[in-house]
């Protein structure tokens, strides 16, 4: 965050409120003191006039007690100095002057609590000004921080504000909504780019696969013909060649399936049937890898609306992946159950999980971590499920991975068609 160049809002609010507090306190205290002082001077003058009137009727020796009541507001001055005169009945003149300092001292003492409380009030007002400025500018500071984070490519959501003015709350909410929309837009853009990339790749792959498939079929036939009448040693070489050709053919077939999955033939599909088929198809692989395959179908699980062949392909690919994820043996669980958004088919293994940094790429074609893999299995799954209007999700941890395929259930109308 850059250092601000000019005064911050906080400083301005603080300065404004503090100036107001200081001005008001000074004005109030100043007015109280001035008014008190003027009143006391007025009272002193009245006292003086009354004393003078009373003294005019008394002899000088009897005025002493009376004149003492003038203190401390009036002090007697020496004969040569100027002052206001009090003449007694026998003609004796004494001069007095108003002692403003004494009046002010008495006033300040009398008003000392007001003055101290005024000082305390001033400090409290300043503290409140500081906290008011603080509470108003903190949300802005957090907002600026949020923008800064976004600029650096880090997605942040601002915490909900409590006890802040609603305008600032609205500002934070608007920022969070903006972040959500931007995130959705970014996800959408990513997906669109991926689909575009895959479509282009699919077209190329289909063309190449088509050109390769026919020569492969021809090679396979020739290999079968060659096998007759060769020595056992050569037969072994030919068997290896044959299996390699088969593997190549399988890859090409997968590539074609991925590139041209074909239009799904939708109809009601029994999830239990798909699971049973998958169990049968993978039984030998499971035995070879010392894996126990379990099948759990929820009672009264409704049927799916989809292409049975394509969905079998989905489950087969996921199960074969789960088997290869546990080279040391273990369990693979196939499940079919109701979900609030349709029917879920899941495949769970007890492998070591998928590293977080690879999760984003596992559905990309040709992405694989296994040396013998084609990297097309999960791409095909993703494409088929997408074609069915469903979703594939992954939950992974060091204790295992679950792929869940969520597909729409058969609607009432579709059931009737059934």
């Amino acid at each position: 965050m850059r250092r601000p160049r000019s005064w911050s809002t906080e400083t301005r609010i603080k300065a404004l409120l503090m100036a107001a507090a200081i001005g008001l306190t000074s004005l109030t205290v100043g007015t109280a003191l001035t008014q008190g002082f003027l009143e006391r001077v007025q009272e002193a003058r009245i006292l003086f006039d009354n004393t003078r009137s009373a003294a005019e009727n008394l002899r000088a020796d009897r005025t002493e007690v009376l004149l003492q009541t003038l203190a401390p507001s009036w002090r007697e001055v020496s004969p040569g100095q100027s002052g206001e005169e009090i003449k007694s009945a026998d003609g004796m003149v004494r001069r007095f002057s108003l002692d403003r300092t004494a009046i002010l001292t008495a006033l300040v003492y009398h008003q000392r609590y007001v003055l101290v409380v005024g000082l305390i009030g001033l400090l409290v007002a300043v503290e409140l000004a500081v906290f008011l400025a603080y509470s108003l500018t903190r949300p802005m500071k957090i907002l600026a921080w949020g923008c800064e984070q976004m600029r650096s490519g880090r997605w942040v959501r601002l915490p909900p504000l409590s006890r802040s003015p609603y305008e600032l709350e609205a500002l934070h909410e608007a920022f969070n909504e903006m972040v959500d929309n931007l995130q959705q837009w970014q996800d959408f853009q990513k997906e669109a780019a991926r689909v575009e990339r895959l479509a282009a790749l699919g077209s190329v792959a289909a063309a190449v696969a088509h050109e390769v498939k026919n020569p492969l079929a021809s090679m396979r036939i020739r290999l079968d013909l060659l096998r007759r009448g060769v020595s056992p040693q050569d037969a072994e070489h030919l068997a290896v060649l044959g299996s390699e050709v088969d593997r190549l053919n399988q890859t090409v077939s997968q590539l074609l399936t991925y590139a041209r999955p074909g239009t799904p033939l939708f109809g009601p599909v029994d999830p239990g049937e798909i699971l049973t088929w998958t169990e049968q198809m993978t039984a030998s692989s499971c035995r070879a890898a010392n894996i126990r395959l379990l099948r759990e179908v929820e009672a009264d699980c409704p049927s799916l609306w989809g292409d049975a062949q394509q969905l079998k392909q989905v489950l087969l690919n996921l199960t074969l992946n789960a088997v290869s994820a546990q080279p040391g043996g273990g369990r693979v669980i196939l499940r079919a159950f109701r979900h609030r958004n349709g029917i879920a088919l899941s495949v769970t293994d007890e492998g070591t999980g998928i590293p977080a940094e690879l999760l984003e790429r596992i559905f990309d074609p040709f992405f694989t971590t296994r040396p013998e893999g084609t990297g097309l299995g999960l791409s095909i799954v993703h494409r088929i499920v997408g074609g069915h209007g469903g979703t594939v999700s992954v939950e992974t941890s060091p204790a295992g991975t679950t792929f869940t395929v969520l597909l729409p259930a058969t609607s009432a109308e579709q059931d009737k068609e059934r």
Binding site: M1, R3, P4, S8, E10, K14, M18, I22, T101, L104, T105, V108, Y109, R112, Y113, L115, V116, V117, L119, I120, L122, L123, V124, V126, E127, V130, Y134, R138, K141, I142, W145, V156, L158, P159
Partner: protein, 463 residues
């Protein structure tokens, strides 16, 4: 101008100066490192300001002056000498502390000995010691201003309470800024009072001469009632307490570079020495001019004495110096107490690196803690508690037990082996002072000895 009005105007001027010059700063880019240790970027100027102003507490100015006025040079031997010993030891801390990136001394202790329990124990001790120490500042200033203006002590203490809150809310940068102002007031006030008194007495030699005639015992550096050994032990305890005081350690951590820290220590020693000379002149000259002033408390006696021996303006300067020292020490201690409460006693806060939002929330909690601790101290300052120097002694000794050995003596820390010796030392100190009624500074030495014995003893493996 009436003296009362002059005093009120002076307090008003101090308020405005604090508000405008020291201005509370809630930095735009604020985090806990900036709040607690100024981002480790304090320059020598503010460092010297905050170091010396924090050093000169109300207990230093008022307590030392009155002790000097009562007992003469033994006060210098027993307290100032000790404090200066602490200052002399501090350069040894600089490198040791600065290699760590700790934000508080309890954190440093916990990290160095690999034992979170140590951090909690020392943070609890600091929280208690500093809360009581803040009480001293509130009480000293409240009593003085209460007597000066003839108002309730609570009202007067509320003033210093608000000054302290205002300067602490902004963290160490705000404390350091206000401390520069406070140091100027302390130095100016003490210098003005000392020069005025010297002018009245003629010279310092004349003061000595008068003391030689009227009260020769006051020139004696050792107390007549206590044995020299006790005075020496007291001096040593004060020294250990100062040397291990986290207030100063944290300032050494806050310096921009180690070189700045050394410069600060050197310049501070000069200024501190000058202020003590000024206070010594005030205490002894006051005795010569007007012996026999006594009152119900040190604070009241100080008020009477200053008003009697000094004209209104220098007297006001000295009272403002007490106010500035109370504010500067209390805000520093308040910040450390809040740090102990919010940072050291909340283990989760210590571990995670928070983003701005969490950091903002954390600092807000600190500000609440500052208000809470200050309010508790204000309340305690209105209760009948022992004299300010005694409270200070308790606080310093507890701090010394927690930090002296780890900071100065233990060269190779062993993991998790200090907690038991430290806890035992704190318990022994509590027993000696509370149950046996021994002075805290005297109880400190056996407590430290026990701590060292348990830590270094060959039988430690039996624990």
């Amino acid at each position: 101008m009436p003296v009362l009005l002059l005093q009120l105007c002076a307090f008003g001027a101090y308020t405005l100066a604090l508000v405008f010059l020291a201005g509370q700063a809630f930095s735009w880019k604020e985090d806990r490192r900036l709040f607690y240790v100024g981002g480790n970027r304090l320059r020598p100027g503010p460092m010297v300001g905050t170091f010396v102003a924090t050093w000169m507490s109300a207990a230093s100015i008022l307590g030392y002056t009155m002790w000097l006025y009562t007992d003469g040079y033994v006060a210098f031997t027993g307290s100032v000498n000790g404090w200066l010993i602490g200052l002399v030891l501090m350069p040894f801390l600089v490198r040791k502390l600065r290699v760590s990136r700790a934000l508080s001394l309890p954190q440093w202790l916990g990290d160095t000995f690999g034992d979170p329990r140590l951090r909690v124990l020392s943070a609890l001790s600091l929280l208690g010691a500093y809360t009581f120490y803040i009480v001293i500042q509130f009480r000293a200033f409240g009593t003085i201003v209460g007597a000066l203006l003839d108002i309730k002590i609570l009202l007067a203490s509320s003033l210093v309470y608000l000054f302290v809150l205002y300067t602490t809310f902004g963290g160490l940068p705000s404390v350091a800024k206000s401390d520069v102002l406070n140091l100027a007031i302390i130095t100016g006030g003490v210098a003005l009072a000392a020069l005025t008194l010297l002018n009245r007495a003629g010279s310092f030699s004349a003061v000595h001469e008068a003391l030689r005639r009227t009260a020769p015992a006051m020139l004696h550096p050792w107390n007549q009632e206590w044995s020299p050994l006790v005075t020496l032990l007291m001096m040593l305890s004060w020294g250990l307490g100062v040397a291990a005081n986290p207030q100063y350690a944290i300032r050494l951590l806050s310096a921009r570079t180690a070189r700045d820290a050394y410069t600060t220590l050197a310049l501070s020693a000069l200024i501190i020495g000058s202020i003590y000379v000024g206070l010594t002149i005030i205490g002894l000259t006051s005795f010569v001019l007007l012996p026999g002033v006594s009152a119900a408390s040190d604070e009241l006696a100080f008020t009477d004495l200053v008003q009697s021996v000094l004209p209104p303006l220098p007297a006001l300067g000295l009272f403002l110096a007490v106010l500035a020292s109370a504010v500067s020490t209390a805000n520093s201690q308040l910040l450390l107490a809040a740090c102990s409460l919010c940072y050291d006693l909340s283990p989760r806060e210590g571990r995670r690196r928070a983003d701005l939002v969490a950091e903002d929330r954390f600092l807000f909690k600190n500000r609440l803690a500052i208000a809470l601790i200050a309010t508790v101290a204000l309340f305690l300052s209105q209760l009948r508690l022992p004299g300010i120097l005694l409270i200070g002694r308790y606080s310093w000794t507890v701090v010394a037990i927690c930090f002296f050995l780890p900071l100065y003596v233990i060269r190779r820390p062993r993991r998790k082996e200090l907690f038991f010796p430290l806890a035992a030392a704190l318990l022994l100190h509590l027993f000696l002072t509370v149950v046996l009624g021994i002075l805290p500074e005297l109880a400190l030495l056996p407590a430290l000895a026990l701590e060292g014995l348990l830590y270094f003893s060959p039988w430690r493996s039996l624990r």
